[in-house]
Symmetry: C2
Amino acid sequence: MTSKIHFSDRLTQKIQQTKTPLVVGLDPRFDQLPAALKGSVSSIETTPADRARITVEFCKGVIDVVGPLVPAVKPQAAFFEKLGPLGMPALAEVVDYAIEAGLVVIMDAKRGDIGSTAAAYADAFLGRKPLSPWGCDALTINPYLGDDSLVPFMDAATERGAGLFVLVKTSNPGSKTFQEQSVNGQCLYSVVAQHVQGLAASDLGQCGYGSVGAVIGATHPQQLIELRAAMPNTIFLVPGLGAQGGTAADVAGAFDNDGLGAVINSSRAIIFAYQREQFSGASSWQAAVEQATLETKQQIADHTSAGKL
Amino acid sequence: MTSKIHFSDRLTQKIQQTKTPLVVGLDPRFDQLPAALKGSVSSIETTPADRARITVEFCKGVIDVVGPLVPAVKPQAAFFEKLGPLGMPALAEVVDYAIEAGLVVIMDAKRGDIGSTAAAYADAFLGRKPLSPWGCDALTINPYLGDDSLVPFMDAATERGAGLFVLVKTSNPGSKTFQEQSVNGQCLYSVVAQHVQGLAASDLGQCGYGSVGAVIGATHPQQLIELRAAMPNTIFLVPGLGAQGGTAADVAGAFDNDGLGAVINSSRAIIFAYQREQFSGASSWQAAVEQATLETKQQIADHTSAGKL
């Protein structure tokens, strides 16, 4: 499977193969990493190099567990950037390891800039090596800068069999501040959604979905239903399940009748499952990751059309 | 001068000291770097390490020239990320070098995410070392995610004497796509502007400006006038001068009566001045950078209230 196959087809194939739309978010908040990995090093004593090494070890440990169980992982760039410059080779190592494990890698970096700079971000991240130096399958991007800021991402994605997820309605409570401003009787996010659907329809895979997807939070079950209808060719990346309060039932509206058209991300509730009372009996932090992954898969299957996969 | 002095006061002091609001954008597009720096290495033969090394050499060469002439530089993260993981230590080296040269460093990375992730980005970039691992004075951020996504940036900036520039009306033609959508009879960017002004007013320096600023493109002279009136405590970061078509006269509206309250960014027209016919007589690419910097300073002084500095 090379990255030149259309992104939506590659992602859909992995969803069907693993029988789940669950994506595991790699948000390695250093303070929450299992003590077993930090060894005798206290968080005060750690050097930047220690933190980068331990972060890589943690992410690889998660990937070892979830690699056969889910279609994709979503590394969150912020937690690697927080480690300073040494965090970036660490991020690259995690991406490479996930690709080797057969996972689709969605880089969650929410990039966006004017055209020629957007092209540089696209060149940085979109497409497996050697198509891009970071070698990711997809990237999250921010639409605020407008249509000409999305075109270079779109062009690169189309050319390289990569994918994009444009922020439409984010999972945080404050998403209402601007995304729900009323524009001619509809919310701004609906205007953005129409634009994104147009982009998605312009580059369809055989599965009927485009290389451009949309980020829509699990915390907005009604909007997921509304936008699923308005965006028939757009794959949804749905964050907010678990720690942010979204439930499996809340994300039911994200899917088409075949249980396709969406991936559901859970980060903290899975990768830090060892901290949850429910998994306190697990034999290790990795066993807790596995139990939380299997439980979340089951919940999604029980409450959504993804149960048909 | 430690970074605990309020950001707006530090920036204003540097503007007064250098008698100009001109900021030099460090957009090291590798293909455009002077042949003198690339030596005998063709762009096909270069390794990622070569490209990172040459990029650092170029940026340091720009800083050597502009360090005494302007208050600040604005590294564009995209062109370093495009170099792959090795681009990030290169970016860090450039930031450090600029700080040592006495410049204010505005990291142009346009970050933005939900609250807890926004806090990680803030921790990564805001505040000089050891307050943050990247050690920057300020960061550009994207408002699309809403109020609770801005709060962690705001908190970190206030605590660390750092600054923020929130995208309000960007310089690209496509900024109209969403930023000019009509919300209750005004443009979306005006709604964002009011929010940003509120944040700015909540943490004022002695100069009367806040730690939160706004990005407003030089390509929108009328909006600069309108927003200057609507945002009396907000420092403007104005990109788009030069290669993007904005002129010194276009940015006149960005300033208050004392020639303060705004910084004007020029990137390509200065750092790649050696490619401009006007500077073809310069003895070196660095001499062209110096001539272009001095000329742009003079143009801004001639056409705006910054001439009073």
